[in-house]
Symmetry: C2
Subunit: 658 residues, 2 copies
């Protein structure tokens, strides 16, 4: 065991990738990725608890909800084993089933069958429903089989046929990995072959030159290529990606059709569509080495993160079109931030992290997971948010299309709940990576991270109370005796001070070998070596770039990776008149009794006394602020992810300071 | 001629209303209105110019645009005089024709036919097209006559059938008043009788208990009642108004169906729908004395104005659903503020002004006319804004559904342009009123105001350069010799200082007889008496109620009734980094050469120097403002209504002060 070594440059991709079991991103043989996924397990702590709820409540409730909403019955009717009309309002009802199957499959790949095999049986039952439903040529979409027969591929702007196919492929890959069974993979492969026989560029002899206006099949086809080795799927994904932006959907930004992705300079249009497309773009860049696609992905990720990302990691500022807004259009009160967009962002950023090796992608993943993603599911795993706003005013009442302030059991458009389930069930894919020189830990959990260096296993055990405490205790459990390697620890961008103990040596933020967000600790390492990373979790006030007009004069309270918020239930006088005093200290307190155990932050503030403006709320006095300081008030901030778990009510992330 | 008299209490309604020629609000015999419309003419100045452009450009171009868009051809095909398919995307295409006919009719009622009778001929030509189109029972809607035959009244959530009928009725009233001809009135009456034979409450024997999800027919039926004396139309309007809020449209706020209007405490849902409904509510309260409806209208107007009105008078904060937002949800950057909502607000507020006699309603009318309404039409009268935002960022590019930054020749949904035309053509209806005790001047123009007191004419001539100058010179031209009466002048709410000269006496804001916005000058008056009102037009900085989160730390520049804005074209370095220094004086300059002649306001400011935040736009430093003062910059503010007349570009109403 040595002292922490010096920083090392990013390594070339490992040529000897081991049999990493996890994840859709099992890279192809000629991948240009800097990193490959490493195996990880989560055995206790914050995410363990969230995943337990997912495994014990959310996922098991899925089949019942899919039955009530009609999704499963649609498959039976399509198969001819039941009679009835199509149920549901959308042609993407099938995708909810596929996302649930993907979630359940990832769950099966991990969970010892302590449920008596019930989940496995449910999965096989529903896989059978799916397997019985396709038409003889492999086509599968119950809407078009039952409702609009003969309209196949006739309205790709709206039909979601390839979108659904993509989710089928992703589910099939997960099911195959988890169970080794091929029933679902066969369905996906037959459908993919059918799509490949139908879609192609002019001159290809294929009947349709077209794209689904909702991207998803692109990344899924690359995953199917990785699973099957069938190069045609990769080529088909490449064809689809490059057909966006050429007017096949009227040039609509909503459909990602305004500009070719290679030429795009900013994210735009429907956020989930943009992000799924960019996941596919990054997959293609990774597998083919296409430098134009890589440059576009890097450019668009930076544009998005720098100018269009809410502090929670939430994406898509606009309700109208569920869309990205202009640069710095990041409203507090009407942030849309669809849960699915947060999920898509995490999926895309992981692909960028592997392709580039850069830590910043995992910084955004961390922020999104702990905030704008996790807010999408209630602590009990039974209720969901589709929209994740940063503010709900006092006395807010829901009106049409504006149910952001209430958690809901299911949705007419139920894309988000099974999407949350599949991300939580596959969370271990987002935690660590490897290259020829060592192991990189991207996210801190209590558990184990395992890589293979030239075939030799490297295992590091971690124990931490993260995100409540900043101490991560790492122990090397396996390491090759004959070579040095680098353990890389991501130092989160939010962290302004840390210490690392290793082999009797201590470094801090001033002298530790940190490069571009990676703390690089060079071995050799031996089993039993211990490294302790201590990240300062001092609560902090955060301000936005002054160009974010909507939160001028405001701060947010953060601690570690968590964004905090005030909730009405903790402030009986309401939130709308509260002003935070930024000169007073923040204090923290861990409350095991509250919201499943959270650290709250207390700040000092006061309530504004507002001069009654009468019937007109604008005043032209000398003072631009027709309000004076009123009674002092103690502010209690909880983690944002935990909001809306104590009934409906007001909430606020950004707090005025004057 | 006497000196200014003392304030007098609001008078009881005049029992001896004279033959006022103008406007849809020719009140019924038992009206409960405090005031009645007085006649007015505009002979020079600001609105004269805008109306000339409307008369010489906008209105004459209407028939050609309605022909190109298919509206007129639809009428011919419905009449069987032409063949072809329905053109246009919406079932309310006919209403564009009706609104144009209404505009042209008001225009005819005013304009000496210096155009050789061309407009009159166009009106009669298009009236003939309309008159030929109805079905034998009086029903008229070309969409349902041509496209969805047999689907009459089957989908009132979407069909706009009664909405179109309402606009037909309003056009017919205007046409009848202007020309004395009955061709169009006959069509409207037959359709109204048809609707009355079909719609009614359960138990009425009428086949349909229903409402159009887009209100409009309610106010129109009251106008038709006023024109024809047919009480059934008033009763039918009352039935419709009280059927909202009972779940006939699924309880959707968008359709004004969430809560009965008598119980509503806040405006909500689609802004134009809400406002047209409230115009009808106020019409009913006026004609029937219904105190429940009156109380609802007063309550909702105050809620709207106090908490949901943009500084421009613009209404409807949300793009999503074209809807009112939560209280104080008044975004600068994404204000929707549909032009039609501004028009509907003006129409409703006039009804409130007459019903109550209160000046504040005309304060809102003034603000809306000069700002959020007038911005809807270009200075040349040829291009239109559907949405009237308060900010367009530097480098803004239009994407789907977001064409707010560009004036457009016509729209697929072309509700706004002919709506602007009809309001401008009927503007004299909004200028003055009378009661038994005298004349009230609501809006200041160069022209004449005429009322009748017990049958005797009272005429006041006005000359003014308003809104560029605050001096209004009034001369009594006609007055009864045998009685005293009160000349009431509205002192705008924005005005903090004024003087009034009358009969050698001068009063100022400290000692003038002002009560609730009315400066009451008691006569007797004689022809030749002169009154001069001088309103201070000092430019001012205006701040919003601190609960308007979106513009915290910002001010707007105002002068008189005009809200000002910065435009990119005047600030080559862009607008996004500009900070205004509120401690430095504002200076004004009239620029006859600019934008048809405007007074610009100059302010001092600087450009922020922003610390490059890298890829993440939030910082947790001690200072909440990662920006420092940069180069000084002189800011030039133009009136908001004149923006987007010098090409596309950035614009900003609210300006940060730090």
């Amino acid at each position: 065991m040595s002292s922490p070594g010096s920083a090392v440059p990013p390594s070339a991709p490992s040529s000897g990738r081991g049999p990493f079991p996890a994840g859709p991103i099992r890279l192809g043989p000629k991948s240009g990725a800097a990193l490959v996924l490493a195996a990880a397990e989560v055995s206790a702590g914050f995410w363990f608890t969230r995943r337990e709820v997912n495994a014990r409540t959310s996922i098991p409730q899925g089949p019942g909800l899919l039955e009530s909403a009609g999704n499963l019955q649609n498959l039976r009717v399509a198969a001819g084993t039941a009679e009835g009309a199509f149920r549901g309002d959308y042609p993407f009802m099938d995708s909810d089933v596929y996302k649930w199957l993907e979630a359940a499959s990832w769950q099966l790949s991990r969970r010892p069958p302590e449920d008596g095999g019930r989940l496995a049986a449910e999965v096989e039952r529903i896989v059978s429903l799916v397997a019985d439903a396709p038409q003889p040529d492999g086509y599968l979409n119950t809407w078009f089989q039952l409702l609009d027969k003969g309209e196949r591929y006739a309205n790709l702007r709206w039909s979601h046929e390839l979108y659904c196919a993509g989710h089928l492929m992703q589910a099939a890959v997960a099911h195959h990995r988890a169970t080794g069974r091929t029933e679902l993979l066969d369905v996906a492969v037959r459908f993919a072959d059918h799509i490949d026989s139908v879609f192609g560029p002019p001159g290809s002899g294929k009947p349709i030159d077209g794209i689904d206006a909702h991207p998803e099949v692109e990344t899924a086809l690359v995953e199917l290529y990785r699973e099957t080795g069938e190069r045609r799927y990769l080529d088909l994904a490449g064809y689809f990606v490059d057909r966006f932006g050429h007017g096949l959907h009227g040039g609509e930004a909503y459909c990602q059709d305004r500009v070719p992705v290679r030429e795009a300079t900013s994210v735009e249009g429907h956020a989930v569509r943009q992000l799924y497309l960019l996941a596919g773009v990054t997959d293609l860049a990774t597998e083919t080495g296409d430098t134009g696609l890589r440059a576009a992905a890097e450019r668009l990720w930076e544009d998005m993160t720098r100018t269009r990302t809410h502090i929670t990691g939430g994406l898509g500022a606009r309700h109208d079109g569920e869309a990205f807004g202009s640069p710095y259009e990041l409203p507090n009160d009407r942030a849309y931030c669809e849960t699915c967009a947060a999920i898509a962002s995490v999926q895309w950023s992981l692909r960028m992290a592997l392709l580039t090796g850069e830590a910043r992608y995992s910084d955004l993943i961390e922020r999104t997971l702990y905030n704008g993603f996790l807010s999408g599911v209630s602590l009990d795993g039974e209720r969901w948010l589709y929209v994740n706003p940063l503010q709900v005013r006092d006395g807010h009442t829901d009106t049409d299309g504006d149910q952001a302030a209430r958690r809901t059991r299911w949705f007419r458009c139920a894309c988000c709940p099974p999407n949350v389930m599949r991300l939580l069930a596959s969370l271990e894919h987002y935690l660590a990576s490897a290259d020829a020189d060592g192991l990189q830990i991207h996210q801190y959990v209590t558990g184990r991270y395992t890589a293979h260096l030239d075939g030799a296993p490297v295992t590091v055990r971690a124990e931490t109370d993260y995100p409540w405490r900043g101490t991560i205790a790492l122990t090397v459990e396996q390491a090759p005796a004959d070579r040095s390697w680098t353990l890389s620890l991501r130092v989160p961008r939010w962290c302004d001070a840390f210490r690392v103990h290793s082999g009797g040596t201590v470094h801090d933020s001033a002298d530790a070998p940190v490069s571009e967000g990676w703390l690089r600790l060079r071995g050799p390492w031996a089993p039993g070596d211990r490294i302790t990373l201590e990240l300062s979790m001092r609560p902090r006030l955060t301000a936005a770039d002054p160009r974010v007009d909507a939160v001028r004069g405001c701060v947010a309270i953060e601690r570690g990776p968590l964004v905090h918020c005030l909730e009405g239930v903790d402030h009986p006088g309401g939130l709308d008149d509260i002003v935070l005093d930024p000169t007073r200290p923040l204090t923290e307190k861990h409350r095991p009794d509250l919201l499943g155990g959270v650290t709250t932050i207390t700040a000092a503030g006061h309530r504004r006394r507002i001069t009654d403006p009468g019937w007109w709320p604008y005043t032209s006095q000398g003072s631009p602020t027709p309000a004076t300081d009123g009674e002092p008030v103690e502010l209690t901030a909880i983690p944002y992810y935990a909001w809306a778990n104590r009934g409906d009510g007001a909430m606020r992330v950004w707090l005025p300071t004057r």
